[in-house]
Subunit: 352 residues, 2 copies
């Protein structure tokens, strides 16, 4: 009952790492992965190592001398095809112009689809979901989105998700996701929550290349930007923003979905949730400790604060992928039990 | 789908507080409560205030003058009947010699039964469960037990639970329960767990009277005692033990079910879990901060420790009852989905 076959839409940083982390659990089998130009399918389980090498972009092997021709079809063949080709360079993949349709075509072999596509238009993920609804997909869709307003768009689709048999888990990365789950847990000492403070630190020097999309999305939270202006920035302009802040970006009162997700789970009012953090792209050390503080009133009249802290050595990637796969499995359980619609991570937690 | 009717077996400290805390959620309705001598039933929901007053023992009202007869049938009538009568003193209750049978007789109106009976023989709760199996009970049974070996006895009953349609949630109080849930959450940064350290502090001055059973059970964890010798201690002997330790009992390497419950949930090996803590019965202030530390290795090769801490002002009662009701609701969800057998709290958490 616990075995789960899943697909990954998008093989950027989050998609790739999810595939990598899934190798550590036998019960999780990736069977489909795609990006814009290619789709890899293996019902018995993808060869993740091969696929990761193909999508890594920065393959650790000696440069070939000019004119040399490699014919062994292995890692070198991947390299020959070049990083921009993505999944299509994998031996397991085919080029495609319709990756989502191709995933949907495999959906009877798929229990859950991780939508690992950050930093698109607000309605991008909802529109991807629409495609699955149109195809009468039955199963889990799960994303790692951050923006509150996307939840509303997904909510509007609740009826069609229920009709199709889709359990949509939204915001299942580090924050929201891991940290709203921690808040839901920490809330259990209390009968009433006064405040939830989510504060994150990310050091991203060596992961910068792999996580440009995430950095761009974070810039959209700075006072002078929004998601539209941030999307339109060239890579050079993003570098300028980062340099202007000496590589360290500090965020307060972010529009992060943590607030609406905690309200959905009946933990507290959205307005009682604050989210902020510090991103350092010049160091792998976290500039501040990721901390969740939940303040509430106990049934016996005391007011206190429970605290959850992540060790500074745990990378953003580690804190996205484990939770995302955990929520994915919980979502499959809900789906198999016939529970359809939209769920946030905190709703998947035990809570009284 | 989320509305839950539940019964409470036992109206000592844990049973009473669970009834009290349940009043803060509309979706939770207590419909049956019993102790050795009485059973209260109301399918529309018990009047918890009245029942708590009846079972409190230390009713806050003026003593009656000798010879005075109260006839108003309210709180004073409760007081006249006296604390030793327990539930039977409630206006909602009937005296009984077969409380468990009486609860079973109501089971079609009950989604879950909280077994709030600490400190009996090891096989007491398993034998209570047998009674429910014999009656073909379909629903959740949930306890707040602490001892590892009871889990084995419950495991042996897995087949009969599955046949009957019982979802048994074991160890769903503060520890195990709340703290194993926290450990399961904190583990999500890691692909491999090296150590889980659970350390609790309890200050129990004003709650001492209500929690004698818990204190007795804790004494059983001291080096010179076991559960049998602790059970045979008179109240006076327990006082002596407490005085000998100046009211502060410190525990290390406790046989707490946290270890087997975390292993069941595939978080880590039982031997990698340590449980200890400090109990102070002379102060309501916690003698140490309740802390869960989970040390593990991330997918990218770092070793770190995530930490969960409860505020010192949160009482043991607050940290038992919220989680117990949360796990109860999760158990009902599993039961309704047709998932039967034995589950620990950590198994109800999202986890990859």
């Amino acid at each position: 009952m616990d075995d789960v076959n899943f697909a990954v839409l998008g093989t950027g940083g989050i998609g790739r790492r999810t595939l990598e982390v899934s190798q550590h659990k036998e019960s999780l089998t990736p069977v489909v992965a795609c990006d814009r130009h290619g789709v890899a399918v293996d019902h018995e389980g993808l060869d993740v190592d091969e696929l990761l090498t193909a999508t890594e972009g920065n393959i650790a092997s000696e440069p070939q001398s000019e004119g040399e021709t490699r014919t062994d079809g292995g890692a070198a063949a991947v390299k020959q095809t070049g990083r921009d080709e993505g999944v299509a360079t994998s031996r397991q993949a085919e080029p495609t112009e319709t990756p989502i349709d191709d995933v949907i075509a495999e959906s009877e072999h798929v229990d859950a689809v991780l939508i690992a596509l950050p930093n698109f238009e607000h309605d991008f993920i909802p529109r991807v979901a629409d495609r699955f609804v149109e195809a009468d997909y039955e199963g889990v869709l799960i994303d790692v989105l951050k923006r509150s307003r996307v939840i509303d768009m997904l909510n509007e689709r609740t009826d069609s998700f229920e009709e199709s048999g889709i359990t949509f888990i939204c915001g299942a990365g580090a924050t929201p996701g891991f940290l709203t789950g921690a808040a839901a847990l920490a809330a259990q000492s209390f009968i009433e929550i006064e405040e939830v403070e989510i504060w994150w630190g990310v050091g991203l020097k060596s992961g910068y290349e792999d996580n440009r999309g995430t950095v761009r999305e974070d810039i959209a939270h700075l006072p002078d930007y929004d998601i539209k202006t941030a999307r339109e920035l060239s890579d050079e302009e993003i570098e300028e923003v980062i340099q202007k802040h000496d590589g360290v970006l500090e965020f307060h009162d972010m529009e992060h979905a943590d607030d609406v997700l905690l309200e959905r789970a009946d933990i507290c009012d959205a307005e009682d949730v604050t989210v902020g953090g510090i991103l350092d792209v010049c160091s792998d050390e976290k500039p501040t400790t990721t901390t969740v503080r939940v303040t509430g009133r106990t049934f016996d009249g005391e007011t206190g604060t429970n605290t959850f802290q992540l060790d500074d050595v745990t990378s953003m990637e580690a804190n996205v992928n484990g939770p995302a796969l955990g929520y994915l499995k919980s979502g499959v359980r809900r789906n198999r039990a016939g529970e359809y619609g939209v769920f946030g991570p905190a709703e998947l937690m035990p809570g009284f």
